[in-house]
Structure formats: structure tokens, C-alpha cells
């Protein structure tokens, strides 16, 4: 995930160098957003479902400790071994401990954004454990040595020709083969071998049910199930906010999740794991990693309602044109930009500013998170806490002083107009961020104040 010390704007600038690719990225994601709309409009009860989902999640957050204990007891009664991890480090150690206990050095993993957040693969690699990601998109970015750029569509930033080159290099396909059908078939063959030979499989969790102790994993590919059902040991990792109270609430969330994500009515597989298979070990790792802190931030706790559908990314004008990697965090886009500063304000101080605050994210969110309001609130917190970049701090200070004094304000207006008119080179240069990718507007002859003074009767 580390992309050095570059911030969102700098990373976006790199992505923006290839204009054709940016347009393609933008249009592809918008197409998915359109599919979501088409699917959603078929349900007259959609808004009522969102409202219900939001309220179920509010209930969960307000009783989270009780539900966690209820869930733990039920899962244990089902024969599941429950582990608790306070942070990413402890999570990684628990998983590594289980692998050591079972004397294995290879593991197959299906999609889990939590393990991305915890940098599990890197941690295990340093301990000599080989992890193979089995979701096709994740496998592709893994081969490329990159993190996923989108939580639902991990390699949405890659062209099929690049994927063909990766497969040629690592999976022995002929060169210049870029047909998606052919490439998928190749990955299927290669990963089937992996599924059949791994003793330990790790999966994520979409929902966990306090009432029954079961957990639900949703995939289209079937990779979570292929891994879990063929392995002797199944490890499932989840953030503590993934709980829902009762099984019947799945009816609401499974109707919302995939329609919001890709426009499908449901994922191909919605697997309900209750008890381990005979002879199988089933472990569940409950991870906090900053979530209990976020729960205590009144303005931001709402972000814990997220069900990771990715709709806010597909609709976001900034995400679509800057790419997931520009967010330099496991969960990109609008939701990632309100989750990341909770973990590290300094490192992610740039993200709440990577938004136009247009509000489209909040409008499509299936659990009604006020994403754009939280982005706005994070900006205030970050500036107050001193995490804003120096340039921005000085500019805001100058602006505050100018706006507070009518004399300064009028003088600055005049100067601005004169500068654009007589010395455009002073603003039309790369020191001015507003000049990037656009021309400065023609200066008006006079300000409104001057016009009003002349025209008032």
C-alpha cells in the first residue's frame, strides 16, 4: 500500500498522464454505476430498504459489545474457534500462529479487505509463507505486485493487454493473448490446482449473525467456497463492525449489497458458514484495529455502517479520474477517505480533501452513510489538529485575513483582476494549482461591488 510519501494529488497526477486511460477508467466505472441504477429502480421499496439497513446498523453500533458476546457464544457452541485481535499486528500473528500450528507454509485466500488493511500477505511473506489470492482480480494485482485499486473490482485499473502480459510471464500463456475468456480459463486451471492442494484457506466475512453465530461470505466466482470446502483449516477474518443482529436481517442486506455493487440482484454465492465440516477446523478472527476508537468519534462513527459495496467509488468524480491507487490506503474512494484518517491522521490527512463534496457518494450508499458530510468534518478536524499541508495552511490564513477586512478584500479583488488582465503569466504557471488542466477565466471589468456603487439609484 505504501506509495512512498506522495499524497493523493501527486499520485493522481501520475495517473492523469495517460488521458485516454483516465477516460476509459472513468467511463467503465460510470457504466457500473448505471447498472446499479437500473437494478435499483426495479425495486419500489429501495429507499425503505436503505432506511431499514441504516437503522439496523445504528442498532448494531449502539449494542455492539452485547452482540459481539452473543455472537461469540453462539459461534463457540457451533464448534467455531473464536480469536480476538486488538490491532493489525495481533491479527497477523494469530493467522501466522495457526499456520505454524498446522505446519503449513502455503495458504489460499479469497477476498478480504481486512487482510489488505492489516498487510497480512506482506507479513506472512517475511515469515516464509506463500499466500495465493484466489479472486481473479486479486490474483492479477498480486502477480503485478500491486495492491487492489478497488474493493469490489481489484484490477479495474488494468487493461486486458497488461493482464495478458502478466499471464504470459507467470502462467505461461502465449504472448499477446488478451482475450478475457482465454485468460480467465487459464487462471481457472491454475487456481484449481491451488485449491486442491492447500490445507489452509482464509476468507473474509460479509456479515456475521449475533443470533446464530454463523457468518456469510459472498462471491461471484465461488473462490471462497472452493478454498474453504477443500481445506482442512478455514480461517475467516472480520472487522467487529460486520455483525448484524438476526438472520432475518440478511434479507435486507443481501438485497442491497450486490445491487449497489454491480447491479446484480445477488452474488452467485451467498454462503452461510455455521459449523465446521466433520474433521475440519474453523477459526474466526474478530479484529478491532481502530474500530472501537472510530465508534467513539461522534461525527465519524457512522462510517462503521459500511458494507463494502463500492458504490461510492463507482459514482465518485474524483475516484473515477484519479484511480484507486492514488488513495494510498486499502479501502480507496470516498468511504476509504473517512476510514483512513481514523487509523493515522498524519499519513492520510490528504484524503478528505480528495473530494468535490458533491454528495453523490451519500446518495448511492445503501446504508445511508453521510460520507460527504464526514469528509467535510474531517477537513476541519485535520486543520485544527495541525495536519493540513503548510501551503494550504498559509493560503487559508491569507484568505481568512482578507475576507475579514473589507479594505483588504476590495484591494485583493482589484489586484486579482489586474493580474489576470495585464500579467497572466503570474497565474498561468504551474505554481498555481488552479491552472492545472485548465485555463484561467477572463477577468471581469469590475467587481459586483463596483458595479453596484455605479448603478444604485
Amino acid at each position: 500500500m505504501e506509495v512512498g510519501t506522495k499524497d493523493h494529488a501527486e499520485l493522481a497526477e501520475i495517473f492523469n498522464k495517460d488521458e485516454e486511460r483516465v477516460n476509459w477508467h472513468d467511463e467503465t466505472l460510470w457504466w457500473i454505476r448505471a447498472k446499479r441504477d437500473k437494478s435499483v429502480h426495479q425495486l419500489p421499496e429501495w429507499e425503505a430498504l436503505r432506511e431499514a439497513a441504516s437503522n439496523v446498523k445504528f442498532n448494531v453500533l449502539s449494542h455492539l459489545n452485547t452482540y459481539l458476546e452473543q455472537f461469540e457464544a453462539a459461534a463457540k457452541a457451533n464448534g467455531v474457534i473464536v480469536h480476538w485481535a486488538a490491532d493489525a499486528k495481533e491479527h497477523n500473528e494469530i493467522v501466522h500462529g495457526l499456520l505454524k500450528e498446522n505446519k503449513v507454509t502455503q495458504m489460499v485466500k479469497s477476498k478480504s479487505m481486512l487482510t489488505e488493511e492489516c498487510h497480512l500477505n506482506e507479513y506472512l511473506a517475511t515469515h516464509g509463507i506463500e499466500v495465493i489470492d484466489s479472486d481473479l482480480g486479486e490474483r492479477i494485482v498480486q502477480l503485478a505486485g500491486e495492491p487492489p485499486s478497488h474493493i469490489v473490482l481489484p484490477c479495474i485499473h488494468k487493461k486486458k493487454e497488461e493482464i495478458g502480459d502478466l499471464f504470459h510471464m507467470y502462467l505461461g500463456t502465449p504472448s499477446n493473448m488478451a482475450d478475457p475468456q482465454f485468460l480467465t480459463e487459464t487462471a481457472r486451471g491454475s487456481l484449481r490446482e491451488t485449491f486442491l492442494t492447500r490445507k489452509v484457506a482464509l476468507t473474509g466475512v460479509n456479515f456475521a449473525i449475533a443470533e446464530t453465530g454463523e457468518f456469510v461470505v459472498c462471491t461471484n466466482e465461488g473462490n471462497a467456497d472452493m478454498g474453504a470446502h477443500l481445506a482442512d483449516v478455514h480461517i475467516a477474518c472480520m472487522g467487529i463492525e460486520k455483525l448484524i443482529p438476526k438472520r432475518e436481517h440478511l434479507g435486507i442486506f443481501l438485497r442491497l449489497l450486490t445491487r449497489s455493487a454491480t447491479g446484480q440482484p445477488i452474488t452467485t454465492y451467498s454462503s452461510h458458514f455455521g459449523k465446521p465440516r466433520e474433521g475440519q477446523q474453523m477459526h474466526l478472527v474478530l479484529v478491532d484495529n481502530g474500530r472501537s476508537v472510530q465508534l467513539g468519534r461522534k461525527d465519524f462513527r457512522n462510517s462503521l455502517k459500511c458494507i463494502r459495496c463500492g458504490a461510492c467509488m463507482n459514482t465518485c468524480p474524483v475516484y473515477r479520474r484519479s484511480g484507486g491507487h492514488s488513495y494510498h490506503t486499502a479501502v480507496a474512494g470516498p468511504i476509504g477517505s473517512i476510514l483512513a484518517p481514523n487509523l493515522d491522521m498524519k499519513k492520510y490527512a490528504d484524503l478528505p480533501f480528495a473530494s468535490t463534496l458533491c454528495g453523490s457518494c451519500s446518495n448511492v450508499c445503501p446504508v445511508k452513510i453521510d460520507i460527504h458530510d464526514q469528509l467535510y468534518k474531517w477537513r476541519q478536524v485535520l486543520v485544527k489538529e495541525g495536519y493540513a499541508p503548510t501551503g494550504k495552511k498559509i493560503a487559508m490564513q491569507v484568505m481568512a485575513t482578507t475576507l475579514a477586512s473589507p479594505t483588504l478584500y476590495h484591494a485583493a479583488g482589484k489586484m486579482g483582476r489586474a493580474t489576470i488582465k495585464y500579467a497572466p503569466f503570474a497565474v498561468n504557471n504551474k505554481l498555481n494549482a488552479w491552472y492545472k488542466e485548465r485555463e484561467m477565466p477572463a477577468p471581469p471589468k469590475e467587481s459586483f461591488g463596483e458595479w453596484y456603487a455605479k448603478n444604485k439609484k
Binding site: N55, L153, H272
Partner: protein, 198 residues
Amino acid sequence: MSSRDKILAAVAQNKPEAMPLPHIAPFKEIGYTDVIGQYETVLTAIGGKVHRVNNWDEIKTIVKEKYNAQNVRVLSLVPELDDVATSAYEINPAAHHLADVELALIKAHFGVAENGSVWVTEELLGHRAVPFICQHLAAVITSSNLVDTMHRAYMRIGLETYGWGAFIAGPSKTADIEQSLVLGAHGPRSMTVFVLQD
């Protein structure tokens, strides 16, 4: 203090004021006028196949047209269809012996009209891996066993206990490469549902 206790204490400390659960009863009233028609339309749209049949012989004919159990392995978990299968299922805790199954025939508890899925639990499958490891999957439901929405699906499941269960909607698929839809990612390349008139 263990991590468990630390997490629970922090959550208890930081959680907001208690909020009630919403009433979700009205969602359970939502339904379709033509439930089978809706089921057929949706499952077809997501890449599955639906056959409405009147008896077991019709299913056998359709299966035999495509799969010769002498040449490819057809696995049956449906006693009524054992004679079009290579062999009936034999209990074996290791699923690896299923790797060469071409077609798996299973029964499902019911179908869901809004999304084209069927609900299965492990008792119907012999092994949890069966509906994933086969190259093609066919499930049988009876026409009276269709529910309208997921709300009704969970009403029907209630608090029944199961070790493992799943909604399966169509063939395994991916669109990870440039959003081009490919059927047959890791699981079955096709999924057929026989709706048996009862």
C-alpha cells in the same frame, strides 16, 4: 487484560446511545403476481437456464441429451435421477475425489424469484464442495417451492440449524478483466434449474 476484554470494554465505553431495531414486517408482504415467470426471467438474465418440467422422466431426457454418463462423470444426489448418473454419491470426507465431476445433480430446498437463486444446505449435497467443484450444476426444485423475495426466504428458513447453507444464483462468473463477463470462474460453467410441477 486480554484483547477480547480490551475490545469489549472499549466498545462499551464508546458506543452511542441505544437505538431500536426497525420494523421490517412490511417487506415480507412484497410479492410478484407471476412468481415462476419472475424466477425464470431473472435466472436467465444472470446466465442460468430454467426448464419447467412435469415429471422426472422429462428431466432425465434433458440430461441425457447433453451428458452421456458413460463418457463423463455425472454425479447424482437425487435418488430419482440415479439412472442418468455415472454413480450415486458415496460418502467421502475428502472432496478431492470430486475433481472430475462433469455434472452434479442436486435437490434444492426452494428458489427465490427476485434473484433467481436456490437455497441449499449440506444435507442435500453429500459434501459442501459438490456445487462448486463440478463443471456444470443442475438443481431440482418443485414449483410450489418458490418464494418471492429474500425476506420470505428467511421467513421460510426461520431458525433452522445447518452446518453450511448457500443461496446459489446461476453459474460461477467473473468480470474482473475489463468488465467482460466470463461464465465459469472457479465453479460451474453452467447452472440449470429444473422447476418440477407439483
